[in-house]
Amino acid sequence: MASIARCLRAARPAALPTLARSSVSQPFSRLSTIRAFSASTIRPVRKYTKDHEWVDLSADNKTGVIGISEYAAEALGDVVYVELPEKGKTVGAGDAIGAVESVKSAADINAPISCKITDVNFLLEEKPGTINQVPEDDSHGGGWIAKVTVDEQGVKDLEALMDAEEYKTFTAGEDAEH
């Protein structure tokens, strides 16, 4: 997702609230925040990239779910089309797997970790706005992008990513720069 987070600043200052503010205004986002902070061993732990993607890895380290962060979704503005990843494709961390279009911008979605795409969220093609509403919801009807299987490399890639707390600090820093 690169730094789409920055791009609407001039035109839509209101589009860049803090994570805290958006979680108050949107009931769904509070849900995902709770999930991200969960310390349960059964619940997956959500990790974030500097490019604003998130990944949930299952407890057995075999499968995962990928999406873009609430921070990114908010900054993107109205998403008008989501180009979904290709099912069956194997990708490395940082590879472009799809794209979202908003405000005349085609922004790459990158794989947060090495993985193989096993399923994609077709709902997003029909209702791209779901990405704006519930980007971190991995359930049916949510804004998740792809389901994946993960090998050892993928699990290793995860170490470089941020947990929810670190990501929050990171995005606060990005805001402060401007």
């Binding site: 609407l8 180009e83 940082g94 472009a96 405000v103 005349k104 911008s105 085609a106 093609e125």
Partner: protein, 401 residues
């Protein structure tokens, strides 16, 4: 297939800011581009081939040094450029593009799908394209549109500003009334490290009055598409020539980022020697990209839940009960329902309809070059009239109408 030889027309006089292209070979171009020593770079294309220019631009986006800032200027021979996630059957009149403009040598107006987002635009040699490539961390939607506004003001173009859609518009007063015209449109491509902002600028196009029919699809009333629809705006030339535009944009760019030693680097057909550029061109000219990249859409002669718009009355020459419905995904017909075709009195029409519908599923829409032929081939028996096929040819911009 386009003709590179024709597409590359030498500039009539050397631009004051540009190096003569004879100094440029592809090797310096690549090493210069990726070098960390040249953080501010300016390129100009001597080619008017839109596929090549977009591929050079993409090459600069992907291969330039991550910290560098680049300006690239080029013009294209007449073409309609659609956004990455648009539908050519909905956004353009494919027959009109093929028929072309009276002012162009070889007639045809090329159809191009770019890699960036946004809507459909018309280019010709009276339109300048400017693009700025910078680190994603420094990306801003308006910064370089503002740069072009300052450049235009420098040559006395009044009333120009960046609007809320990040386009450059000109407010013009005539007879006491103020009207606003679009003179430049913007689109963006954002990758992990690098971001691209490119824009058009209508300078002195002789074709403004002819653009609208090219961007109106005869099938509009029947197509419901996922993806991005264009927003129509009245347009206008700013009234300057290309050389002057290049000069002032380069000056504004250098005011922002510092003077570029050696000035502009000219690129052109020789860039095809770079493997990645050649590959980029091959992709952009392919029907898989131009048509196959189209987001899913339906074509239907009847209103439906998904597309309840009332439909225009079908022409009188078509069978009274004709119904056609197609679902097309990435250019491929996934579902087809045809009914009401005429086969001759003794035949069971509905089972023939079903047979035709079934035979159409799996076909690639842009490979159907003549619907009359396609229906004949799909039909187990001879069709009574070729008019349905001809009507569909008109809507999809192929074959005999």
């Amino acid at each position: 297939m386009y003709n590179l030889r024709n597409a590359s027309i030498a500039l009539t006089r050397p631009l004051s800011r540009l190096k003569p292209s004879s100094h440029v070979t592809y090797r310096p171009f690549t090493s210069y581009t990726s070098s960390s020593l040249n953080t501010v770079q300016i390129y100009h294309s001597t080619s008017h081939n839109p596929y090549l220019n977009l591929s050079i631009e993409h090459h600069l986006l992907t291969k330039s040094h991550p910290d560098s800032i680049l300006l690239f200027l080029y013009r294209n021979a007449p073409c309609v450029v659609i956004g990455r996630n648009q539908n050519p059957w909905l956004e353009t009149n494919l027959s009109a593009l093929r028929y072309g403009l009276p002012s162009t040598n070889n007639g045809e107006v090329k159809l191009v799908r770019r890699r960036s987002g946004g809507g459909a635009v018309f280019h010709d040699l009276g339109n300048a394209n400017w693009s700025v490539i910078c680190p994603s961390a420094a990306f801003d939607r308006d910064r370089h549109a503002e740069m072009v506004v300052r450049a235009l003001k420098r040559i006395g173009v009044d009333g120009v500003r960046v609007n809320e859609r990040h386009d450059i518009v000109q407010d013009v007063k005539s007879d006491g009334k103020e009207s606003t015209f679009k003179v430049s449109g913007s689109a963006y491509k954002l990758t992990r490290l690098r971001s691209l902002h490119h824009g058009t600028c209508l300078l002195d196009s002789p074709n403004l009055g002819r653009i609208s029919p090219l961007l109106r699809s005869p099938a509009e009333a029947y197509i419901k598409a996922r993806g991005v629809e264009s927003v129509r705006s009245p347009v206008r030339n700013v009234g300057t020539d290309y050389d002057e535009f290049v000069d002032v944009v380069v000056e504004e760019f250098e005011d922002m980022y510092g003077e570029v030693e050696g000035g502009c680097v000219a690129v052109g057909d020789d860039a095809l020697e770079i493997e990645a550029v050649k590959k980029g061109v091959d992709e952009l000219v392919s029907s898989e990209w131009i048509f196959g990249q189209t987001p899913q859409f339906t074509f239907s002669t009847q209103p439906s839940d998904a597309d309840p718009r009332p439909r225009p009355k079908l022409p009188d020459y078509l069978p009274e009960n004709l119904e056609v419905s197609l679902t097309v995904r990435h250019g491929q017909i996934r579902d087809a329902r045809m009914s009401g075709l005429k086969y001759g009195e003794s035949l069971d029409g509905s089972s023939q309809d079903q047979a035709i519908s079934k035979a159409l599923v799996g076909r690639t829409l842009h490979e159907v070059r003549d619907w009359h032929k396609a229906l004949e081939e799909a039909s187990p028996v001879s069709l009574e009239s070729g008019r349905v096929g001809k009507w569909l040819n008109g809507l999809f911009g192929v074959g005999q109408i």
